[in-house]
Symmetry: D2
Subunit: 198 residues, 4 copies
Amino acid sequence: MSKLYARYSSMNAGKSLQLLAVKHNYEERSMKVAVFTAAIDDRYGAARVSSRVGIWAEARIFDPQTVFNRDLLDDDVACVLVDESQFLTEQQVRQLHRMAHVGSGTGGAADKGLPVMCFGLRTDFLGNPFPGAAMLMCLADDLEEIRTVCRCGKKASMNVRLAADGSRVTEGAQIEIGGNARYEAVCSRCFYRDARDS
Amino acid sequence: MSKLYARYSSMNAGKSLQLLAVKHNYEERSMKVAVFTAAIDDRYGAARVSSRVGIWAEARIFDPQTVFNRDLLDDDVACVLVDESQFLTEQQVRQLHRMAHVGSGTGGAADKGLPVMCFGLRTDFLGNPFPGAAMLMCLADDLEEIRTVCRCGKKASMNVRLAADGSRVTEGAQIEIGGNARYEAVCSRCFYRDARDS
Amino acid sequence: MSKLYARYSSMNAGKSLQLLAVKHNYEERSMKVAVFTAAIDDRYGAARVSSRVGIWAEARIFDPQTVFNRDLLDDDVACVLVDESQFLTEQQVRQLHRMAHVGSGTGGAADKGLPVMCFGLRTDFLGNPFPGAAMLMCLADDLEEIRTVCRCGKKASMNVRLAADGSRVTEGAQIEIGGNARYEAVCSRCFYRDARDS
Amino acid sequence: MSKLYARYSSMNAGKSLQLLAVKHNYEERSMKVAVFTAAIDDRYGAARVSSRVGIWAEARIFDPQTVFNRDLLDDDVACVLVDESQFLTEQQVRQLHRMAHVGSGTGGAADKGLPVMCFGLRTDFLGNPFPGAAMLMCLADDLEEIRTVCRCGKKASMNVRLAADGSRVTEGAQIEIGGNARYEAVCSRCFYRDARDS
C-alpha cells in the first residue's frame, strides 16, 4: 500500500537534502520521480530543489492553483516528492492524500496509489502552524522528523525570524522566504525564553 | 529536557489504555501524575479515563475554559497526561507546550518544565483535523502513532461515522462522542473507497 | 505487505499490556490472533500473558525446541503475537521473519505473509544483548520502543538486577525471571553511574 | 541528556549522506564534530566519508584496535559521528554507549556525556547480523531507519550480494566492501523469494 509521508523539521535542517537523497535512491533503481517545490521560494531559481551542501535538482512549481492529480504526472512516475510542503493549501494536501490511496481507475500499475513524500516546516516564526502543514500532519500515514540542533545543543523544533541586526522579530507576515540569514531553528525552550509574548 | 508528547491514533486503538499504562509506570516509581480528560466525553462517567479492556482511573475534567498552567497542579506532579486531546483548544495546546518547556520561575525542581503527554485523534469522520489536534501535531516535540487495524487488515488511520443501520454518515457536526457502535477506524484506502465525496 | 514488528523496552514498561491491547484490537474486528509466551516465565502461570495492571490472556508456550511455521497455526490466524521475545532463539527469530514475508505457497489468503509482533527486552542486567533480541532488532521491519521512566525521571532503557536487600547485582546468569522485586528499569546514565565495572 | 543514536539501513540508502548532513548542521552552528569511518572501507580513499551524490568529508579511521574514549577527542567536540558502524566491535559499541552517558569526571562541559551517532547496516548478505550492529541495535537510545526502496517498490531492509554476472551469491565471508555493483538492497520478501536456502 502506498502512503502519504510527511518529513517535517525546523529551518535549515536539511529537508531538501533528504528529498534529493530519496530522488537519488529511486533513480538508481531506474524509477521515475516527480519533484515539486513552491513558487514562493525563489532562493535558488524558481524551478529547483537545492541543498545548502551544494547539490540540487530541477523541480516543477506548485502554487495555490495547482491541482494535484494523476493527469499532472507522467504514467511511469513511481513517487511524488514535494519540497516546501508548508505552502500547500489544505485542499492540495487532501489531493495528495487521495493520490497516495486512490488508484487511477484505469487498471494496471497506474491503478494503485502512488507514494507521496512531503518535506516541510510545521510552524512559522511565531509558533503558528502553516495551514497546509497542519493538514499534512493530521493526514499523513507516516511521520518522521528531520532533526537539527539548537545553538544550545538541544534538538531544534521551532523557528525564529531575525532582523538584519540579529534581533528577534516577533511580528509580521507568516510567509517571507529566505536563507540562513533571517531564520534560525531553536529548541522550544529557547523559543520561549527569548520571547516576551509568544 | 521535558517535552510535549503527542500519541495519536484513530478511534478505538487503545489511547486510553496507553495513558493508563504510562500512569501506572510513573506511580510504580512513586511519582505523581495529573490526568485530564474532556468534559465532552461522558461515556464512562464524567471524570474517568477508561479503557475498553476494563481498566480505568479517575481524571480531572478540562473544557474550553480551562487554563493549563502550574497553578492548576500540585507542586509534586511529575507528569501531565491528557486524554481526548483532540478537544483541546489551540490556545490550550499552546499552554501545554509552554508548560513542558518553561519553568515556574520559582527555583527548585518546579523550575524545570514538566513532561506533558496528550492522547487523541487527529481527524474527524470527514477527514478534517480537529483544531486542537492540528496544533498539537505541529507543536509536539515527540510524535508517536498508536496503531490499530482496519477491517481489511491494513493500518487504520482515519475514522468513519456509522448510522444505526451500519451505513456510513458523510455529513454532520464534528463532535458527537460515542462508543464502538458509531465510529470505526479505517485505513485511508477504505476511507476513500467507501465514500462518494469526501 | 505484512511485517515483522519488534516492540522493545526495559523491564516493567508494559510490554504485555501492549500485546493485550493489540490482541483486543484484532479481536474487536473478529480477526483471530495467535499468542505465544516463553516457557521460562511462570510468574503468572505457564500459559498466560499478564499485565501488572490486572488484565491477562491465555497463551501458547514456546521453548527453544518450538519451530515457528504455518503448521503451528490455525488457517484463519490474522496475526502472531509473541511476548517475552528475548527468549526466542536466533533461529526462531529467523523463522518468524520468514513467516512474515513468505507465503504458504498454497494460494489464497494463506499465501501471503502473516504479521508477527514480538514484545521483549533488548539487554540483560549487565547490558548484554539477549541473542534472540539482537537477531530481532537486526531483522525486524518495524521497530518501536515502549517507554518507561527511570527513577531519575529520564527514559529508562537498561535493566538492573537487585538483591533481596535492594543492592545491585553485577554478576550471575543472564536468565532469572521475576517480578518487580528483582529487576528495575534505569536510564543509561544511572546504569553506568551506579555500577563499578559494567 | 546526550544519547547514543543508531541510524540503520540497507546498502546504498544514503547513510553517508545523512552523516554529512548532521555534520553540516552542527558546523553551521560553529559546533565541532568528530567523524570516524572504518579502515576496511577504502572505496573513496581511506580517510573519507563520501556520498554517492557527490559530497564528502575527511574522517578519522577506526579499526578493531581503536579505543573510543574522551582522550581520543578534542575537548571542544560537540558530537561524534561514526560511519560504517557495522564494523565496530561489540566492545567499541559499549565504549561509545558509555561515552554518550558518562561524563569525563573533570567538571565543566566535558563532564556531561557526548552525543554519538552511528550510521550502518544491520545484516550482511545472508541476513546475519554484524556483531557490532547487533550490539548497537540493543544499546542505542534512539533508533531510526534510513529508508530506501527495493526494485519491487517496497521498502528495502535486507542486502544481497551479486556476482559479476548479476547472479546472487549465497555463500562467502561476511565482509567484502564494495560499491553499487556488488550489493543490492532488497525488501524481505524479495530476499526470501530469490534465495533457495537462506
